[in-house]
Symmetry: C2
Subunit: 216 residues, 2 copies
Amino acid sequence: MNTFTEENYLKAIYHGAANGGSASTNEIAAALNTKAASVTDMLKKLAEKKLINYTKYQGVTLTPAGQKIALSIIRKHRLWEYFLVEKLNFKWDEVHDVAEELEHISSKELVDRLDDFMGNPKYDPHGDPIPNRKGEFKAHELKPVSGLSVNEEGVISGVRDHSSSFLQYLEKTQLTIGKKIKIAEIHTYDHSVIVQSGDKRTHISREVANNLLIAL
Amino acid sequence: MNTFTEENYLKAIYHGAANGGSASTNEIAAALNTKAASVTDMLKKLAEKKLINYTKYQGVTLTPAGQKIALSIIRKHRLWEYFLVEKLNFKWDEVHDVAEELEHISSKELVDRLDDFMGNPKYDPHGDPIPNRKGEFKAHELKPVSGLSVNEEGVISGVRDHSSSFLQYLEKTQLTIGKKIKIAEIHTYDHSVIVQSGDKRTHISREVANNLLIAL
DNA sequence: CCATATTTTTAGACTTATCTAAATTTTTTA
DNA sequence: TAAAAAATTTAGATAAGTCTAAAAATATGG
C-alpha cells in the first residue's frame, strides 16, 4: 500500500493536472503546504513506482495506476463528506478537514459498504461527483452564475471555491445546492448580479457569481 | 496533537498496565509487533512529554494525561466497531483491523456525533465497555465459563481472546454475545464443558471456556 | 548466593519525509 | 535574443521511528 503522504501527492496531482494539462512543482507545493524541493523529492519516488509520468522541469501527469489510486481517494473523501452531512448532521462547511483524514482509511470493503448504506449517492454535499467502485463518475455540466444572462434560470449544483468562508456565506444567503434560481438583473458597472429564488432577491458580487455553479 | 504511533504505544501501555500493574518493555513490543529497543526509545519520548511514568528497567504506567489519551483512543475504537457491525453489517470478527485505523481519526466532534447517531451504546460488539465522552465507563462484572459450576446460568457478555479465529469459532457454534447459557456438564478429566443454550448442547474445550465470559 | 538466563537499554545505522540554501533550467521581457 | 525573473532541482541537514548487535541490569534457581 501507499503512505498517507503519497496519497496526498497523487490527489494534488490529479487536481492540478485536470482536463488534459500537467501539474507543476510549485502548484503541488502550494496545494500540500510544503516546499518545492520536497515536491521534487517525492516526484522522483512516485515516478520510480510508476504512479506518475515525470521528466525534470516538465511538470507531471498521473499514469493509469496513479489515477486509479487518486480516484479511490477522491471517492472516499466525497463519500465520507456525504456521510458526515447526511447522517451525522455536520454542516457542509465543516466536513472538509475531517474527510481529509477519513479518505486515507484503507479498507475498500468499508467504503463500499458505506456507499451502499447511504444508497449510492452520485454527488457529495458540494455538488462534486462521487466516483463509483470502478472509479467512474459523471460530472454535472455546470456554468458559473457569471456566465448567465438576465432571465436565465437554473439549479445551484456546485461551487468552484470550497473554502468554508465561501460556503458559510452561501448558507447565510440561502444560496445552497438544489435551489432553483433566476438571474433578475446584472449590473454592468461591477458585474454584480441579482438572483431571484422564489420571492427572495439576493445581490451577489462578481466574485461570488464566478464561484457559484449552475446546472441549466 | 500526538502521532499515530504515540497513540498506539499509549493504548498498548493502557492494556498492559491494566488493574494496577505496570507494562513491561517486552510486553509492549509484542503488542505492537516491534522490537524492545524501539520501545525503549519511544518510552523516553513519552516520558519527556509527561504521558507516562518511566524509570529505566522498572516498567511503565500512564500519567493522568496519558490515560486520558488512551481512553479517547479506546472510545473511538469501540464506537467504530459498533458502527461497523450495527450499521454496515460487518461481522464481529471482521472489524478489528478497520477500527485500528479509524481510532486515529482526530475529530472529537466526529466521535461524539457518531456516538449520538448510534444512540450512545454502552458496549461494543465484543462486550467491551465504551468510555463516554468524559472517559468514564463501567465494565460488566464477568466470569469465565471455566469458573462456573454445573447448573449455573448466565448470559454471554464478553470474550477474553479477540482473535478472529476465536470469534469465528463462537459464531459457528452460536455462542455469541447476549445468549443465555447454562452449564450442563463438566468433564473433570480435561476440564471441557458442555453448555446448554435453549435445546442446544455444545461441548467446548477448557481453552474456550477460559476465554468466554459470562455475566451472572 | 552466585552463575546463568532473561529483560532492558545503549550505540550506531537506516528510511521517509521534510527543510534551507545554492545551483541550474526554463520562461519572460525589454 | 540576451539579461533578468521565475521555476525547479540538487546538495546537505534534520527529526521520527525503526532496526541489529552488544552491553548492562535484573531475575531465577540450583
